[in-house]
Amino acid sequence: MARNGKANGKGNAKLAAVWVGKKLKRKEDPRLIQGTSHYTDDLKLPRMLFCAFTRSPMAHAEIRAIRTDAARALPGVVGVFTAHDLTGLGMVPCAIQMPGLNLPPHPVLATERVRYVGEPVAAVVAENLYTARDAAEAIEVDYEPLPVVVNMEKALEKDSPVIHQQFRTNRAFTHALKNGDIQSAFKKADRVVKQRVINQRLAPVAMEPRAVLGEYLPGENRLTVWSATQIPHLLRTQISVMVGLPETAVRVIAPEVGGGFGSKLNVYAEEGLVPWLAMKLGRPIKWAETRRENITSTIHGRDTINDLELALKKDGRILGLRVRILADMGAYHQLLTPLIPQLTALMQAGCYKIPAIDIEIQGVFTNKMSTDAYRGAGRPEATYNIERIMDVAAHELGMDPVELRIKNFPQAKEFPFTTVTGLVYDSAKYQESIKRALRLSGYDSLRRRQKSGWKNGKYYGVGVSTYVEICAIGPSAATPAGGWESGTVRIEPTGKVTVLTGASPHGQGQETTFAQLIADELGIHPEDVNVVHGDTLAVPYGIGTFGSRATAVGGTAAYLATQKLKTKMARLAAHLLGAKPADISFGRGRLSGKGSKKSISFGELVMAAYTARNIPAGFEPGLEATHFFEPSNFTFPFGAHIASVEVDGETGEVKIDKYVAVDDCGNVINPMLVDGQIHGGIAQGMGQAMWEELIYNEEGQIVNGTMMDYALPKAHLLPEFTLDRTVTPTPVNPMGVKGVGEAGTIASTPCVVNAVCDALSVLGVKHIDMPLKPERVWRAMQQAQASAQLEPQPNDTPSSSRAKRGISVSEKAARSKA
């Protein structure tokens, strides 16, 4: 692996990479494939009680009375709690501060009002799970219904019901990002392309539902909380504030965590309440979310309405972009809720040179569960906006969408590239990834297939998305809670290595990749490197795993801690070998001096550091180093995806025929794991494009709140993905790694929608909102056909005329292709 860093410790001559770059099988897997790992709900403590919640069935109502007698009377019920019983327990936190933000109080259990279906109203604690659930059902709540608003545009109307009366509006915030002369851009434009696109509400549905186990030991004054979380340290800080214990008395453990996708990058009511109840009752208490609760009461993703206007010259050069976004917050702000649409604004220019931009966002309260970070968190929305409007523009200009994109890319030599939104993109070769994707997909032959298909009444389409995303979050100045990460490397007396990382992987495989990285640095085997994470008592304060940051920021911290150690080891080796520290080199399991025949084994040196009988003056015994890595910038992975689809003209059913992805996440530590991230990401983005949509009706009820109705991607629905990559290292960290966790999701959603709209462009279909369910696609085809029939078309059947038009567009596109 070529590293373009300058952060190596002095005298730390580089070893050739042995493990980095290898498809090493994961160290995590033996326990996972044998069922011997422990997720939170697998844990059982002596005298443990079970918790269950009574949740609001109403989207907006006043609570008139809560009757708990029947619940309390059930044998095995230990306690029933409503908001009145929670004196001393703090609110559910939101970490975002911004001017003009309406930040409503967010009680752990609803006080006088409920504001969304699934809001917790009462908690039951019982000797076993079945009793707890029986009791939760036995609680009777009198609700006085209030008018409900679920539609953002209606919520902003003057006569709308107001969800938080103190604000007298449902507007949560407004946020603007403007740069360049937008008015002159639109004045000078040959063509202005407009489109409204809706980014529907999604449920993250990590396979492991959330779970919390709290245990309080009064003698030690120690509260231990096991939680399915992506952010154990941030959670510890927040729990300590909520329950009123000093942070030093709280230990959070994220044991095995079964996926997160942002949904566990949060601090939930239950994560404060369950430990607090454990303190009050003096017994351990566990709560494991049901899937129904997971869909109503774990954060949702996306839910934005986006009005896009792109100003272009007729040759396709972009002059300006105007974007108006309504972003649904739901009823309350969770940890990062108002931040997410701001990330959309930052990334709205995509990988294009756009001289002027004008973005306005309004956050809106509705009677729904909060939205928050969901795989991509704001960037999929940005990418969807820009990649859809690029395609709409290409079709309106009669250009091939590939050509339009290439025309507006910055050149490789322009990097670091400052965008119109003020970001500095680190490094990229956008031309290279699209070139590869075109070749790999057989783009020209796909276009030929499309043309002949159109002649025969078949709707074949090709979609392209070229994306850039913001990763490795990030410099602290740009984040709400610190953007650094911690890494500690400790070589134990026996020569085994413990790596403590503040990152908190939950499927990403950093126990393996960090071991590969550190093994190469120290000249040892990855088997001898044990990566520890997710325990705040063991690991120095860290930020966590989200935003494709764990390797780029957390891995760098561990890497730099290792460099400190190597410097120290070189000093001790020099002392023992009678050489200069700068001349010490690290070999496989040995350290030697320059030109010297004398060398010392890794094990002997480590032992010498611990026995400390023969050490240089002032040498600190032991071998442990910590580094808190503060990145100087984000990283900006990028790539080009191409999808081809066939749409059934009779039913509107979409079949994904081919999917090709060329991604660039900088240097790669374990290609097998990187590909796995891309696969999963593509599937998740495809899920949004094709099937997933969480629907609230006008009464604020979720109408598809089970895994039967909420259409997740299943194996038989997905195509085989063909992957390739380019490698453009980032200068932001010494390993040159960028991050890959969200790339697939960000790229694939617009790619698939572009393909379907491309297939139907021959009918005059301009845009279809997601998900592209057969019914919706069919309706769009019918509408387009109906409006085409209104056009005068003498001597020609509508369909043959459309086919001819389609062919001419396609030929033009082929001619103009770069």
Partner: protein, 165 residues
């Protein structure tokens, strides 16, 4: 009301008086202490709780413990023979067929049923067979590869045994 049940789990009999409404998955996890079988939805839609009941894959969240009385159950903990992993476990490991691991036990048991009845499935067969098991991490491609990997290994072992005879 309680009912005595005896369920053979991975070759060990487990006898317990249970509520008639107790789900098999809760019997496995709470009574037998085998937490490798996961609960992902409690509505038989996600497949995380898939186990073998008398050799056939079932979703243990929609089987009552009393229905399993006198029958035998194999869970993920029963797949390996001592230190020797099952070919499916090797396949999932080698092909990176898992990330967070939560769906994995169910995927393994469902694939076990497939290979028992259909030793050389195509990709399409595998995708069809696991379509009642949801994975949110992998996009399924490496799961398909993992099952194929296991199928190849098992075929090789069968032919090696046949050759030895």
């Amino acid at each position: 009301m309680q009912k005595n049940v005896t369920i053979d789990i991975n070759g060990q009999p487990h006898r317990q008086a249970v509520e008639p409404r107790l789900l098999l998955v809760h019997f496995l996890r709470e009574v037998a202490g085998l937490t490798g079988t996961h609960i992902g939805c409690e509505t038989s839609l996600c497949g995380a709780c898939t186990v073998l009941l008398d050799g056939r894959a079932v979703k243990s969240c929609t089987v009552l413990a009393v229905q399993a009385d006198g029958r035998s159950v194999t869970t993920v903990e029963g797949l390996a023979q001592g230190d020797k992993l099952h070919a499916l476990q090797e396949g999932f490991w080698e092909e990176h067929g898992l990330q967070c691991g939560f769906c994995t036990p169910g995927m393994l048991m469902c694939s076990h049923d497939l290979l028992a009845n259909h030793p050389t499935p195509t990709s399409a067969d595998i995708r069809e067979a696991i379509n009642g098991n949801v994975c949110r991490c992998t996009g399924y491609q490496n799961i398909v590869n993992a099952v194929k990997n296991a199928s190849r290994k098992m075929a090789k072992r069968v032919s090696a045994r046949a050759g030895a005879r």
